[in-house]
């Protein structure tokens, strides 16, 4: 029996301000696998992550996003979240005046199996903070306000572990991540994989984050197109050769199409 993938992006074309930025993108991720989406700056990797999550900043012009057998295209981001998709942000926002703990409680409210009463919630928070080596005093701070890059990453990983999504998309395109932040993300991924049968899509151009990680498939994106898909060996190859050959090939294709 053919297993239908957990996430199936089929023929996805998308635009922002009437400019097409994703062209006919196909991406399949079976449940339980770890995939990596790589590519040079501006290739559209983050855009794809945001589109899967339902960011209204982008318009889905064609194609489908099937998740867990359900078409996501018309669902708002909160419904996609509740269906089991999680997107960790490259640059999480700041919400002044809202304590982190209040926000976290709102994210689990009404989720079967995740909603917790006060005492249980506090115990769970204590556990997660310990696992992420995070000071529980953070929970009383305003969401994101005055947090360092590493601290913001910890809060993203805390939510990943709290929400236990079926699919976690980790947008780590920011090459400016310092060693601490990298460590936090690696640890978060490990814990997520250990605690659930989770599925991962890691968006990055920094291969260091992928060390010690069993990667199933690698997708390479250039100029809004997925141009290559292969197994984990592709990571080492990219590490050595970079994206130049993919970019050249894409340029040649474009030139050919224009002819």
């Amino acid at each position: 029996m053919p297993i239908s993938p957990l996430l199936s992006v089929d023929g996805l074309t998308a635009s922002v301000d009437e400019k097409t930025i994703l062209h006919d993108v196909n991406l399949n991720i079976p449940a339980g696998e770890t995939h990596v989406l790589m590519g040079p700056n501006g290739a559209g990797k983050s855009t794809l992550g945001h589109l899967i999550m339902g960011d209204p900043a982008y318009t889905q012009d064609a194609g489908t996003i099937l998740f867990d057998g359900q078409d996501m295209s018309d669902l708002s981001p909160d419904k996609r979240s509740r269906a089991g998709i999680f997107l960790s942000f490259q640059a999480p926002v700041e919400i002044p005046g809202v304590p982190l703990s209040s926000f976290l409680r709102a994210t689990i409210a009404g989720r079967p199996g995740l909603e917790m009463r006060g005492k249980e919630f506090r115990r769970r928070m204590k556990e997660l903070c310990a696992e992420l080596d995070m000071d529980p005093a953070y929970l009383n701070r305003e969401l994101g306000v005055g947090f360092s890059g590493g601290e913001k990453k910890k809060v993203e990983m805390l939510q990943l572990l709290l929400l236990q999504p079926k699919l976690a998309i980790l947008d780590e395109t920011d090459s400016g991540l310092d060693v601490d932040a990298l460590g936090v993300v690696s640890r978060g991924m490990d814990l997520y994989r250990k605690s659930t049968d989770g599925t991962l899509l890691i968006i990055t151009h920094n291969t260091r984050i992928l060390e010690h990680l069993d990667v199933d498939r690698v997708h390479v994106m250039v100029n809004g197109r997925v141009v290559r898909e292969d197994d984990a060996s592709l990571i080492d190859w990219i590490d050595e050769n970079g994206f130049e050959s993919f970019e050249r090939a894409a340029e040649n294709d474009a030139a050919e199409n224009a002819r």
Partner: protein, 470 residues
Amino acid sequence: MAKQRTEVADIDRTLYDITDSEEGFERLDAGLTPDIVREISERKDEPEWMLDFRLKSLEIYRKMPNPTWGPSIQGLDMDHIVTYVKPNTDQQATWDEVPDDIKNTFERLGIPEAERSYLAGVGAQYDSELVYHNMQDTAAKMGIVYSGIEEALHEPAWEALIRSKFMTLIPPTDHKFAALHGAVWSGGSFVYVPKGVKLDFPLQSYFRLNAKGAGQFEHTLIIVEDDADLHFIEGCSAPKYNVANLHAGAVELFVGKRAHLRYSTIENWSKNMYNLNTKRARVDDEGEIEWISGSFGSHVGYLYPMSVLNGRKSRSSFTGITFAGAGQNLDTGCKVVLNAPDTSATVETKGISKGGGIQTFRSSVVVTPKAEGARVSVSCASLMLDDESRSDTIPAMDVRAKNVDIGHEATIGRIGDDKIFYLMSRGVPEEEARAMIVNGFANPVAKELPLEYAVEMNNLIKLEMEGAIG
């Protein structure tokens, strides 16, 4: 499953919109003439000097122009405003003696309940007159006086003091509606806190304007002597009518040396109200005035509580929140005059506009040459909830002293789409995400409001989710 509906709603006004019958009330003719002023004075049987004061104020009123710098008050026609409406009762000292209709109104507003649970005294005004005034015995034994100001005016012991203070901080020449107030003022509270006396529980006066097309002109006079401490709460509301109502009260506060006064106001007038209110405090050496101000109601509001820091090292803080919804133009802020060495003032305000409402923060800070070493910090933030609403900030500063430390910070913005997306991506529905952001924005100021007015804030930002916002 917990109830989750959450939204940034207009203020739910059902509670305030219930009107009472006016049977047995006495209404003077609409408009403003010396005869009407004489009749008000006569009914109150007040000293001759007060009648003279009223008539002089009326003359000043007639000569002064309307303000030309703020929201339009063209819809306010003084010829149609009834300046005096006497309810069908005299002032009572127990709620049982207050007529049922009026008593029920105050019950709905939660006043007697608050009185039982944590207030040291309550004054309740209905239209032009106080209908209830009472203070706990413990406070009376401390020598604190809390009564109707007209009642106090009939006591020889207080008449001279009131005469020496009345409308000295806000002279009738100050502006047109101060002059109007001087002519037709009626009701309001008088508080005297003797030297060194510190009252742990607040006093509260509540002003309810039920009469259609009427004005309310209460005068609040508070004297907090040296080393004394008081928290005074003022609340006001009215049902909505399709004609203009007017509120032109005056609040004069005298804060002694090392004394402390916290003055909290929740204004929730209906959206046909012109709120042209004036409040002023004078603070002596090392004394402190704290203004807490919530402005949620009114069609048009001009409200700028003013602190005059006359004593060395005296302090003022102003904490305010204004919410302007559909059909509202609220021009609020504060004024501070730093007029002695080492004085300090802080201003922190939050403004929210929604549904086409206009919210303007306006402030004036004056540091006179006497105020060497003064410190001032002004911070005002505004949030517009949609594209049709407007927020402005108009801060003015006039600094004429040496060695001063002045800080100013202003932000105006909308709710960022990126923030909404972030919250939604974690499973928070859109309306709830908006409410969370607005709540977070308002929270630092809203938490300063008196506890019992949590209902106002809950109406403002409906949050029915179980324990979601701490």
